[in-house]
Symmetry: C2
Subunit: 390 residues, 2 copies
C-alpha cells in the first residue's frame, strides 16, 4: 500500500514512536503519588522537551489538548470579545478556525473580515495588514494551508500587526510544525500557536498542544486569570478546595485526566525529528514534493494551484480534467492500493477560490518515509486513469 | 507493586486491551477513503458495540470525548440557560461538575442549589427532589461518589424529577460504568450520561463518551440543532462547505480528528467486561471491598464513612487517626510499594462534609485484578504504619 495522506495523519510512524507507545503498558499509570513525590514527573519532562523543540522558554506556556481543533476552539472561544469587536482571518483557514469564528459571529455578534487569497491560494502579509486597524481584537491565520501548502510569513505578519494594533495573533500551525523551523521565542510577536500531534509530529491521533505567550498571561497568576478563558474546567489535582478553576499554568487549561499515551507518542515523535534533524526532513520532503510537482506539471490534464507555490512541506492538491476527485480517489485506492485524500479538506473558502468547489480536489500529503518509487507508481496510476477513463 | 488507585486509572489493563492497542500500528489510519467507501467504518462499528453495552438504541446518540471532564463540561456549558435559571446538584460531585457549574454562576448568573449529603456521604432521592421545582432547568448528579463509593438511585431520581419539572437530568457515570449495570434505554428519564474510559472500562487515559437521549435531539436534525450546544466546532469531514457546524449526530459533537487508539482501547475494554460478565466483575469487586472494609473496620485507628455504605464498586476512603493522608500515601508507596490516592480527590464538598478537610483522605480503588493477598499485605502495612508511627 502507498500512503499519501500524511497531511491528515502521518503513516507509518517512526519505529521509536511505536516502541514508546507499546512500552506504555509496562509502567503503572502516571500521576500517582510516586510521580508527584519523587523524581521529575514524566509529563513535566515531556512538556520541557516539546517546549525546547519549539523554542518556548517557559514550558508552562505549553499545554496539551486533544488536537488542533480543541486548541483553536479554546483560543477563539476563549477570546474576551463582545458585540461589534473586529477580528480578521483568511480564506486559507480550516473549518477548525472558520466554524469557531462563525459561532462568535452568531453568539457575540463580532465583525469578521476574511482576507481573500489570489487565484493560486497565495496571500501576502500586506493583504492581511490592510484589514487590521487599532480596533482589531484578534487575527487568526493558518501558517501552512492544508490545501495548497502555501506558507504565510507569520513572523513578519505578527510584527507588522503589532505596529498597528493590540490584536491577539493566533496561528494554526497544524501543517507547519515538524516541517518548518518554529522558534517561538524569536517569533515573539505571535501570541498563540496551536497544533496537532498526529501529522508531521508523528504522534497518535487525539493529542495536540497550544503555546501562549507571556503577553496573554497576567504576571500575578494566582490572582488574575490569563486573558484566554479555558474551554474546560474541572479537576486539576491541586487546589481542589476551590470551586473556581486555579489560574496557574498549565493546569488552568488542562483539567481532567490527560491523554498520556498521546503525550508519550508526541514526545517520541519530536525525538525522532531531532534525531534526524528538522532541516533534513524538510529537505527530503521538498525533494519529494518537487519530484511529484514536476511530473504532475508535465501532464496537461492536471489542474493545480500548487504549481505556483513553492512547497516546503508535504501538501499538493490537484484535479484531473473531467474527473471527479472522489472517483479518482476511489480508483486509486481500489485498483492501485494508493491512499490519498479527496474533497474540500475541511477548507471550503480556499477550495472555492481555487475552483475546487463543490467537488473538491485530490490531495497528496507526503512524508519523510515516502519514496520516488512510490511517486513513479502514483504518476503511472494517474496516467492509466486518464487514458482508460476507467 | 500493589496498585490500589483504580478509581483514578485502572491498572493493569486486560490482556486484550493491550493487544488491541499494540495492534494499532499494524493498520493504516482510519478515516481514509477506503474506510468511507467500502465496508463498515471501524469507529461506527465500535460506537455500535459500546452503545449496545449501555443499552443505547441509536448509536448516534453516543459520541466520544477526551474523558468525563470534557463530557461534563460540554453538557453543562452547552445548556441553554440564562440569568436566574435554577440548577440543582449535590455535594457528592467532582470538580469536573462543580467547576463548570460555578463558571455558569459567574458567566450566566444562574442559581444553583447544592444538595447536602448526611455525615456519611449518603444522599436520598427525596433529598434532591425537595430542591427541584417546575422552574428547574437541569439536575446534575454523580451516579457513584469517587470518595465514598455511595451509589445514587439515578433511575428513581430521574423518574421523580420528570414528574415535577422539565429539568434536563445529567449523570456523571465515571465511577459506575463498568461496575454497575447501565441500561440507558430502560433508564429513559435520564437525558445525558457522561463517563470516562480509563477507569472501570479499562481503556487508555484521554477517552470517554457522552450519551444524550432523544429528548435532547430535535427530530428534524438537519434544520434545528440539538438542545445542548457543542463544546468544540470544526472539521467534520462532511458538509465541509458550511461555515455553520452540521447538526447531525454524532458529528455535531465530534469535530476534528478523534482519539483512535483511545476508542480502540475502549472497545477492547468493553469486550473484556462482556467476556467476563459485568455481574461477575461486580461480585468479585464487592467481595474484595467487603474483605477490605471488614479488616479496616476492625481497626479502631481507622476513620471512614465507607463503613456505613454498601460498596458495590471499587471505592473505599479512610484516614488513620493522627496521621496525615499524604504522609501515609508516601510511606505506603516508598516503604511498601503500594499505590493509593490521597487528598481531596477533586471532590471538595463531600470531603468537607465527611471531615476529610483540608488534608483529604486515603482512597483505595480496587479492581477485578486485585486479590485478597494484596489486601492482607496492605492491611499489614497500615498496621505497621500505625504501630511504628514511622
Amino acid at each position: 500500500m502507498i500512503y499519501f495522506n500524511n497531511a491528515a495523519t502521518s503513516y507509518p510512524k517512526p519505529p521509536n514512536v511505536k516502541l514508546a507507545v507499546n512500552d506504555y503498558f509496562n509502567h503503572y499509570p502516571v500521576g500517582q503519588n510516586r510521580n508527584q513525590l519523587g523524581g521529575e514527573d514524566l509529563i513535566l519532562n515531556i512538556r520541557k522537551r516539546i517546549a525546547k523543540f519549539l523554542g518556548i522558554k517557559n514550558c508552562n506556556n505549553l499545554f496539551f489538548t486533544s488536537g488542533a481543533t480543541e486548541g483553536l476552539n479554546l483560543l477563539i472561544a476563549g477570546l474576551n470579545v463582545e458585540e461589534g469587536d473586529h477580528l480578521v482571518t483568511t480564506e486559507n483557514e480550516h473549518n477548525s478556525v472558520l466554524r469557531p469564528l462563525y459561532r462568535l459571529i452568531e453568539t457575540k455578534k463580532i465583525k469578521l473580515d476574511i482576507v481573500a487569497t489570489n487565484e493560486y491560494g497565495i496571500i501576502n502579509v500586506s493583504d492581511i495588514i490592510k484589514y487590521v486597524n487599532s480596533e482589531t481584537k484578534a487575527v487568526i491565520v493558518n501558517h501552512v494551508s492544508n490545501v495548497t501548502g502555501f506558507t504565510l510569513d507569520i513572523e513578519q505578519l505578527a510584527l507588522q500587526i503589532k505596529q498597528k494594533s493590540k490584536a491577539i495573533i493566533i496561528v494554526d500551525g497544524s501543517q507547519s510544525v515538524g516541517y518548518l523551523p518554529i522558534d517561538l521565542s524569536r517569533m515573539n510577536a505571535i501570541d498563540a500557536f496551536a497544533f496537532s500531534g498526529h501529522k508531521s509530529l508523528w504522534a497518535l491521533e487525539g493529542i495536540g498542544a497550544v503555546y501562549i505567550s507571556e503577553s496573554l498571561i497576567n504576571s500575578d497568576q494566582n490572582k488574575i486569570a490569563p486573558l484566554i478563558a479555558p474551554l474546560k474546567v474541572g479537576g486539576t489535582g491541586v487546589k481542589s478546595e476551590s470551586l473556581k478553576q486555579p489560574t496557574e499554568l498549565p493546569i488552568y487549561y488542562e483539567s481532567g485526566t490527560q491523554n498520556i499515551i498521546g503525550i508519550i507518542s508526541l514526545a517520541a515523535g519530536v525525538d525522532f525529528i531531532t534525531s534526524i534533524g528538522l532541516e533534513k526532513i524538510n529537505q527530503r520532503v521538498s525533494v519529494l514534493s518537487d519530484y511529484l510537482v514536476d511530473k504532475l506539471q508535465a501532464m496537461p490534464e492536471i489542474i493545480s494551484p500548487s504549481f505556483e507555490i513553492e512547497i516546503k512541506n508535504s501538501i499538493i492538491s490537484f484535479n484531473i480534467l473531467n474527473h471527479d476527485p472522489s472517483e479518482v480517489a476511489f480508483i486509486l485506492s481500489n485498483s492501485f492500493d494508493i491512499i490519498v485524500r479527496e474533497g474540500l479538506h475541511c477548507a471550503p473558502l480556499i477550495s472555492k477560490r481555487l475552483g475546487f468547489f463543490p467537488k473538491g480536489s485530490i490531495r497528496v500529503g507526503l512524508s519523510y518515509f515516502n519514496t520516488e518509487g512510490e511517486i513513479d507508481f502514483f504518476i503511472d496510476s494517474i496516467k492509466k486513469i486518464i487514458s482508460s477513463k476507467c
